[in-house]
């Protein structure tokens, strides 16, 4: 009986040792990959930070309005945020490759999904950044044009342009990352349609006289406006 217990115990220890010996190289490979990943991620971060500083990404981000968002969230400048983000993505990717070497069942599929998702995430971020940039550019263009044309409430017009572009960009971003695609599509359709209908009604009812005045001035009898000046800037 005693011999049988000892035999079973020694067999269990041997199996444990065999199992450990079987996993140890993989564990070492995983640790090596994690370390190598950290080094690669650090180098990538440093290179990216230099490139972003060279192309004055912070200024671009300021123009896009992204810097203001980061400031409000007490985050570092856009260059730092993006380079840190890329650092973590690269390192996390290496760690996942290392984990996949361990051969744990069920994890392989999740890791595969993560790597499949990564390009979409980057594309979504790219669209988001340039969408914010476009929103900032066109809203400023609308503001300047409205101010110089003496249109009432130019900031409202500018905000409207910015909002429409941001909503449009967000709907594309959510679709790209696959978050609530249908919901976002329907919400965007309803929101955008309601906005346009609201504007059409508002202009139709509130701006009849304005529209008539504009059309008459434009197409019927171009009359001299008493408010205009008799001097040329050139």
């Amino acid at each position: 009986m005693r011999e049988m217990i000892v035999s079973e115990l020694s067999q269990a220890v041997q199996e444990l040792a065999r199992g450990f010996a079987h996993y140890l190289p993989r564990l070492i490979v995983m640790l090596i990959l994690a370390f190598a990943g950290w080094v690669v991620a650090y180098v990538v971060k440093a290179i990216l930070r230099s490139i972003l500083r060279l192309i004055k990404f912070d200024r671009l981000s300021e123009n896009a309005g992204a810097s203001q968002l980061l400031n409000k969230a007490a985050l570092p400048p856009a260059t730092e945020v993006l380079s840190r983000f890329v650092f973590w993505v690269v390192w996390f990717g290496f760690i996942l490759i290392g984990v996949s070497v361990l051969g744990i069942l069920g994890l392989q599929e999740q890791i595969g999904k993560f790597f499949f998702f990564l390009p979409r995430l980057f594309i979504a971020l790219f669209i988001l950044f340039f969408g914010l940039l476009a929103a900032s550019f066109f809203s400023r263009a609308a503001l300047l044009a409205a101010v110089n044309a003496n249109v009432p409430s130019p900031r409202v017009l500018s905000l409207l342009v910015r909002s429409i572009i941001i909503v449009f960009v967000l709907s594309i971003v959510f679709e790209e990352v696959g978050i609530a695609e249908q919901t976002m599509l329907v919400a965007f359709g309803i929101g955008f349609g309601a906005l346009m209908l609201g504007l059409a009604i508002a202009f139709g009812i509130g701006g009849r006289d304005l529209a008539r005045h504009f059309l008459e001035k434009r197409f019927v009898h171009p009359k001299k406006d008493e408010s205009e000046d008799e001097f040329s800037p050139l």
Binding site: F137, L143, L144, V147, D229, P233, L234
Partner: protein, 424 residues
């Protein structure tokens, strides 16, 4: 002639130029739907050539931007015989008139490039460009613009005019004083639509100007003047007479800023070594007076100007925060609170505003066209201050005010250099 110009000009136009051969005088006439005025202008030009240059080989080059009102036909249809009969003048040489169409966009650049290319191909000694809109053009203008080039060796003849005291405020309050302070030459009309130049300057500008860049499309006349200054060509001014009272609406201010201030700010970047070394300014040789002032009454809606200035300052605060220094912005906000009667936009504040805009344009703090557009409401404020201060002033008062503004631009030039270099 270089390949670029050969391919730029149409085959038919090159054939017509080849038939003309070499010329002594070339008159460039850029047009676009100018049927109302072009006939009389061509007659005046022909009359001027017959009267002042009867022995010279001359050609009129009409670069048309696709007129639909028969402008090119009117140019070629004006018979020299009519002018001979009416003025009893006789040319000893043939006076050619050639018309060609240029690509519609960018208009000013293409027209100028066509005229300069023709001047180079025909090896013209002296050239002038005439505005197709001017109703007050006289035959003497041809002589006044060509003689300094033909006889006195000048490469550029800039015009001076008799103007109303409130006409051309963008020129008198920004373009002239700033270009004078930066480049050191007192050219009253750096952005002119009538000017004379030598064939040598035409060839040089043709080869050096970057015709394909985005900025090349606007303000080509100003770029031409700045190129002549930069290359230290001999420049003089010639008094032409009364400039037409061209009625332009306030809404046209933004295109006017794009045509003038845009090219000026844009030129400061490559010209930094030139203008940063200049101190003070020099007068130019001038034929006739360098200015004359008219004092007729004009209608100015000061209430509207003030409202547009104040609302501009209030609505564009976020834009100005990117362009202006905090101190200047605070000063502008104070000015925006002033009433119509006591409104004052001081020369120092105006010069600082313009210099900060120029530095921000250089640094591209926001889109450059947006920077130019953002200047419009502030210019309205400056214009209002000028009206308020000088509405009862004499021509001499106005001239003194412009001179003081020029000196202020010169005095504050180190401020521009400081702003220019800050953050680099």
């Amino acid at each position: 002639m270089r390949l670029a110009e050969e391919t730029f000009l149409t085959d038919d136009f090159v054939r017509q130029l080849s038939n003309v051969g070499e010329v002594d005088i070339l008159v460039g006439l850029p047009t676009h739907n100018n049927a109302k005025t072009i006939g009389s202008i061509v007659k005046t030009i022909q009359s001027g050539i017959l009267r002042w240059f009867p022995r010279e080989r001359a050609v009129i080059i009409n670069a048309d931007g696709g007129s639909r009102d028969g402008t090119p036909e009117l140019v070629t249809g004006v018979s020299i015989d009519d002018v001979r009969r009416s003025s009893d003048l006789h040319a000893l040489r043939t006076l050619h008139s050639i018309t060609t169409k240029y690509a519609p966009s960018p208009a000013g650049q293409a027209a100028m490039r066509t005229i300069l290319s023709a001047a180079e191909l025909l090896q013209a000694k002296a050239c002038i460009v005439m505005s197709p809109e001017s109703c007050s053009v006289e035959a003497e203008w041809i002589s006044r613009l060509l003689q300094p080039v033909r006889n006195d060796g000048f490469d550029l003849v800039a015009p001076t005019y008799r103007r109303h005291k409130f006409e051309g405020l963008l020129i008198t309050n920004l373009l002239y004083p700033m270009s004078r302070a930066l480049y050191g030459l007192r050219i009253r009309e750096p952005y002119a639509h009538e000017f004379g130049f030598s064939g040598r300057l035409a060839s040089e500008f043709l080869s050096q100007n970057s015709w394909d860049d985005g900025a090349g499309g606007s303000g080509i006349e100003l770029r031409f003047t700045l190129a002549a200054i930069r290359a230290r060509h001999p420049i003089c001014q010639s008094f032409l007479g009364q400039k037409d009272h061209v009625e332009q609406r306030g809404a046209d201010l933004v295109p006017a800023l794009r045509e003038t201030v845009g090219p000026l700010f844009s030129a400061l970047e490559p010209d930094f070594p030139v203008w940063s070394a200049v101190v003070g300014s020099q007068p130019l040789p001038t034929i006739g007076p360098d200015h004359e002032v008219l004092l007729d009454l004009v209608r100015v809606n000061r209430k509207r100007l003030r409202a547009m200035f104040s609302s501009g300052v209030a609505e564009l605060t976020t834009v100005f925060q990117s362009i202006l220094s905090p101190a200047t912005l605070v000063e502008l906000q104070k000015v925006a609170q002033l009433g119509e009667e006591d409104f004052e936009y001081s020369t120092e504040l105006w010069v600082k505003t313009v210099y900060e805009f120029a530095a921000s344009y250089h640094k591209s703090v926001i889109n450059r066209d947006h920077i130019i557009q953002a200047l419009a409401p502030l210019f309205r404020g400056r214009a209002l201050a000028f009206f308020t201060e000088h509405r009862n002033g004499s021509g001499e008062d106005v001239e003194n005010a412009i001179e003081n503004l020029c000196l202020e631009f010169e005095r504050l030039k180190p401020y521009l250099l400081q702003m220019w270099k800050s953050g680099e």
